[in-house]
């Protein structure tokens, strides 16, 4: 079939109209309204699918990890022994903490305004989640997102009327300050695909695999003292002036269904409490 001038003209007009429509759909207000309406329409189905996925993931995970189960079991036994000893210490600290808290009338949930949200979707190509709380629920840009165990998930990077987009800390180029173990400063950097690593750790600082990693207030992105994960493989190189390490995250976006969006000030004393526990 030979393409005539008229057909070329039709294709050009259709292409220009399409490009124009895409440009309009990229305008922040239009984009926000269209996405919000679509999420609203699809959420009932999506919520069910996400929960089904989380259930299947939880069921299949042990089978996927069956090869490493024996060595993991050994590691866990060692950890349990260590934790039992730590637990005794923590109980003492908790009693002391409760006493001080009563004295100061300090309530964490008053400082952290937590909003429970359901995860409804994940971005195709990036480490971002869509949650079912938006501007209407007083969600704002930059708010930290945490799990029920106060593990850091990410931060709100886009807000629609009824939904928000959360960029996970594993998202590429997502960097924030952290504190490793008993007070070593470093930088956590997302690697994409639910992976993250630690960098810019001074060479003279000693830390080991399994050390907990908390957020630090230094960068001003997150409140201090939120659990990020633990140190995995450490990389020390004579040529480089800093140490780096891979990070095992304490949250699992694949198995999660609900998260909290936190607003308000950082909980007072949480960081120092974390430090104390490590000491």
């Amino acid at each position: 079939m030979k393409i005539t001038f008229l057909n070329w003209l039709k294709i050009a007009i259709a292409g220009a109209a399409g490009a124009g429509l895409i440009a309009v759909l990229n305008l922040p207000e239009v984009n926000s309204a269209v996405k919000n309406a679509s999420y609203l329409a699809l959420e009932p189905v999506q919520h069910g699918i996400w929960n089904a996925g989380a259930s299947i993931h939880g069921f299949l995970e042990p089978f996927a990890k069956i090869n490493s189960a024996a060595s993991e079991n050994e590691q866990l036994r060692t950890q349990v022994n260590g934790l039992l000893a730590e637990n005794a210490q923590i109980n003492d600290l908790k009693k002391e903490n409760d006493f001080l808290r009563q004295g100061l009338n300090l309530e964490l949930d008053k400082e952290f305004d937590l909003k429970l949200a359901n995860i409804v979707a994940k971005d195709i190509a990036r480490d971002t989640l869509v949650i079912n709380k938006g501007r209407r629920d007083m969600i704002d840009l930059g708010m930290p997102v945490i799990t029920a165990q106060k593990s850091l998930v990410g931060k709100v990077t886009d807000v629609y009327e009824d939904y928000s987009e959360v960029t996970l800390i594993t998202s590429k180029d997502f960097t924030f300050d952290v504190r490793i173990g008993n007070g070593i400063d470093g930088l956590a950097k997302g690697q994409g695909e639910y992976l993250a690593e630690l960098g810019l750790i001074p060479k003279d600082k000693e830390f080991k695999s399994g050390d907990p990693v908390y957020t630090s207030a230094m960068g001003g992105i997150f409140p201090a003292g939120l659990l990020v994960g633990s140190v995995d493989k450490i990389s020390r190189n004579d040529v480089e002036s800093f140490q780096s390490a891979t990070l095992v995250l304490s949250f699992d976006a694949r198995g999660s269904r609900q998260i909290f969006v936190a607003s308000g000030k950082a909980p007072l004393g949480l960081e120092s409490g974390a430090k104390k526990n490590n000491e």
């Binding site: 399409g18 895409i22 759909l25 990229n26 984009n31 269209v34 996405k35 679509s38 999420y39 699809l42 189905v45 999506q46 699918i49 996400w50 089904a52 996925g53 989380a54 299947i56 993931h57 299949l60 409804v120 979707a121 994940k122 971005d123 195709i124 190509a125 990036r126 869509v130 886009d158 695909e193 639910y194 992976l195 976006a253 694949r254 198995g255």
Partner: protein, 104 residues
């Protein structure tokens, strides 16, 4: 014909929902290909490959599939362009370089 189109459109919606709400639970670290080669990509490419040469449904599927994927992605329009490009490439290759034997 219309029933077939409605069915295919419904299938694209279902695939988009599965892609964004079910598939993320099964992403294994390092499977970078997974995020580009998703269910809608596969469906649109399959439609473009196996539909009749005179049929133009794959173009509509590329636009519709692209819109669904772009709803969960930024900036809007990237997936539409990728899928239309893929359909155009497949149609071009099929037209110029592939001869499908016919025995009747």
């Amino acid at each position: 014909m219309n029933k077939q189109r409605v069915f295919l459109a419904a299938m694209l919606v279902a695939l988009a929902l599965i892609q964004v709400s079910l598939a993320p639970h099964f992403l294994i670290g390092g499977m970078v290909w997974f995020k580009w080669l998703n269910f809608i990509d596969v469906a649109v490419v399959a439609i473009a490959l196996f539909e009749k040469k005179s049929n133009k449904f794959s173009w509509a599927a590329a636009v519709a599939g692209g819109v669904f994927l772009d709803l969960y992605s930024n900036p809007f329009g990237v997936w539409i362009v990728i899928l239309i490009g893929a359909v155009a490439l497949i149609k071009f290759i099929l037209k110029k370089y592939v001869w499908i034997p016919s025995y009747w």
